[in-house]
Symmetry: none
Subunit: 424 residues, 2 copies
């Protein structure tokens, strides 16, 4: 093999027939691409092949002639169509050997769930090419590995389950790349988050900044949110920070109260942080979201310190009997109205003796809409120490039920954040 | 070139640096994969390259040696980094020529928006390799094309904008494939779903079937669930159905009560369907999931017919004050215990006058665990017309908070399903 033509770059090889049949969306390739961009590792090619030994072998060999790093995802499971490890070893005429730490770890995961006899098929997940370094998988039974079968060519193999891949990457591979990629410059990225503004409106406010070349600004729209990733290329972290700090400040200032957080923050974590600082307690009263705002809050570790619970008032009888919404308001204004969310929000605060409440009632569709109250119409009520505020939004029926429900989560949490920050 | 080694199959080549930077999720590759599967066109490889002439040329040449059809997306726009058409023509030493119908159409799209002077850059979108057939683009300015530069190798080029690609595919390419692919067989796939069993245990129960070649069986693990995809290759849909029907029956029989649904079913939709058939109503009483079971139910259109709502009893005071859990049980057994989930489940049914309830209380972590009650321990209570059953699971602390919460959703819904089906 000619080392000279091999690029100091990474390729991604995703393995799985489900990708070729279109049954799975390849979110792994995108996620790894973003991580490589952050690390400053050039990345020029992605390949997808199915669970097929000869085509997988061909793809590995081709990559080994083109680049220094090959990242694979998928095919590390226990079943017969999981061929990745074995095929990688065979491609370079290497034997597999059992890793004792890995087999103990896999057994332990079954034992801790009360299963004494590990299925025989899981045994093969502890086999690796001789000389490979193991990447532990804290969340699953498929460890990954890092292996250099030939000079200047290293394969990093991960399972296809996105949550396992991400966890393993963050704990092992990221550091490995930082040590081994011999990059003269580092790339440093930060993410700044905004809610209650569209991507195009935010971009228009930042038009003069978006053309910058170093640091760069890249906007990403999410449901009800916009993220800006700013990336600096510099000799070291200190220099990169010096470039990023003033830009970050400028963007936060321009984003006004749409700016809510950075990095791993989300609206639920920010709301919980605000409540914790103030020593106050929150409850929810959810109709069209069916518990999803509560679930978003309880995803945050330690949420129980400030989030007490709530009422899922999907049915009007619960709005009346438990939350104390009046029959009169339901009849006069309907369940999706400022009056009803106000009574829901107040009812929840009183019932649980809380400081704050978020109430939401809307029409998520596809049925249930009318000309005066179309699918996508949502009313929010936020009750707090200084009274109750209501607001309404029309998210548009074209969005579909799941996105309307997601917009309700973002909208409700963001309204509470704004009121806590600005009006109390 | 040796025709003999070229497969009667299609490859997908997606072109765009935004894909390699992770700025865009490659939904086009998945969508085209699904379309190819429906048409029965074998599809063994997908490649992504950036807006770079030499790497694009290399990828086209490689594909031309492997398969009969290459479908490209992206790089047909008006800007300098849109290189696809020119590079395809150059790869096969062919000149570009202007297509008069295309240039008229592009000009017309500007005129209809009141723009008399079409930007000069758009002119290049009417250039195609000599001999290419044009694919009109009703939604945008970038027409696609179908071109066979060499014997038994045809390139079908589409823009990268998903809505344009889909529209053009449906109106032109689909028919072209049906006419030209000389495919004697179609492929038909079904998905069968199981809960409460691991991928390896299910695979062990099916070991003798997993080696089948037509139809094939492929297992996929999801959080708390396993899916089997069965695929038949046959002359027509009727023949494929005749092959799939008995296999599906066999798999459902072997899966016993772990089998819960097919295709787009999920546990929430199945539970709602069961309730609707029986005319019964469900409520939830959620501690560690914070509303996520309610949210999963309310994701299903029409859930409000049978799902009334529930209590998010994150805090013990709610378990006591609203659900009526006794102080005595909380003290004697702790909030995560069979006794407490039983009282929660019964309390919820009584409060809302429902037929069924799911109660869940567990330790999602990362904090809050103890040797006797580790992170990952979850108790479920299912109350129904014939009384209340409880069960406990230890999902293992290695899973992490979010996965433990997801396993609680799957576990709670699956327990309700099992009890409704088998014991009432």
């Amino acid at each position: 093999m000619e080392d000279s033509i091999r690029l100091n770059a990474a390729e991604i090889l995703c393995i799985g027939t489900e990708l070729l049949l279109g049954q799975t969306l390849n979110t792994n390739a995108r996620w790894i691409s973003q991580e490589l961009a952050i690390l400053g590792i050039p990345h020029y090619k992605q390949v997808v092949v199915g669970d097929n030994t000869s085509r997988l072998k061909e793809a590995i060999l081709e990559a080994s002639k083109r680049c220094n790093y090959l990242i694979t995802t998928g095919g590390l499971g226990p079943t017969n169509d999981d061929l990745t490890t074995e095929t990688i070893a065979r491609t370079f005429n290497t034997d597999l050997e059992e890793n004792l730490i890995a087999i103990k770890d896999i057994r332990g995961k079954f034992t801790s769930q009360g299963i004494e006899n590990m299925p025989a098929s899981n045994q093969k997940q502890a086999l690796f090419p001789k000389g490979a370094e193991i990447i532990p998988n804290p969340k699953g039974t498929a460890p990954g590995f890092i292996w250099s079968p030939i000079k200047n060519f290293t394969i990093l193999s991960f399972p296809g389950v996105p949550s396992e891949l991400k966890d393993m990457w963050a704990k092992t591979a990221k550091e490995w790349f930082q040590k081994n990629s011999f990059n003269e410059n580092i790339f440093e990225s930060r993410v700044i988050k905004f809610a209650g503004i569209s991507e195009s409106s935010l971009a228009a406010d930042l038009e003069d900044l978006l053309e910058k070349e170093n640091p760069t600004i890249a906007p990403y729209a999410d449901i009800g949110e916009v993220k800006l990733r700013i990336t600096a290329k510099a000799k070291n972290k200190k220099k990169a920070d010096e470039m990023l700090n003033p830009l970050e400040e400028e963007l936060i200032m321009r984003g006004k109260d749409h700016f809510y957080g950075k990095g791993d923050d989300n609206l639920a974590s920010i709301v919980i942080e605000l409540l914790r600082e103030r020593g106050e307690k929150l409850v929810v009263a959810e109709s069209c979201t069916g518990g999803a705002i509560g679930a978003a809050l309880s995803n945050i570790p330690g949420a129980s310190d400030v989030f007490i619970g709530g009422i899922i008032a999907y049915n009007n009888s619960i709005k009346k009997d438990i939350l104390g919404v009046s029959q009169k308001s339901l009849e006069a204004y309907g369940a999706v109205s400022n009056e009803v969310v106000k009574e829901m929000a107040r009812g929840a605060i009183n019932l649980f003796n809380a400081d704050w409440s978020i109430a939401v009632s809307g029409i998520a569709g596809p049925g249930g809409g009318s000309p005066s109250k179309p699918v996508g119409l949502v009313h929010f009520g936020i009750a707090g120490p200084k009274g109750c505020e209501t607001m309404q939004a029309n998210f548009g029926m074209h969005r579909g039920r799941l996105n309307i429900q997601k917009l309700c989560i973002v909208g409700g949490l963001n309204q509470l954040r704004l009121i806590m920050l600005t009006r109390s």
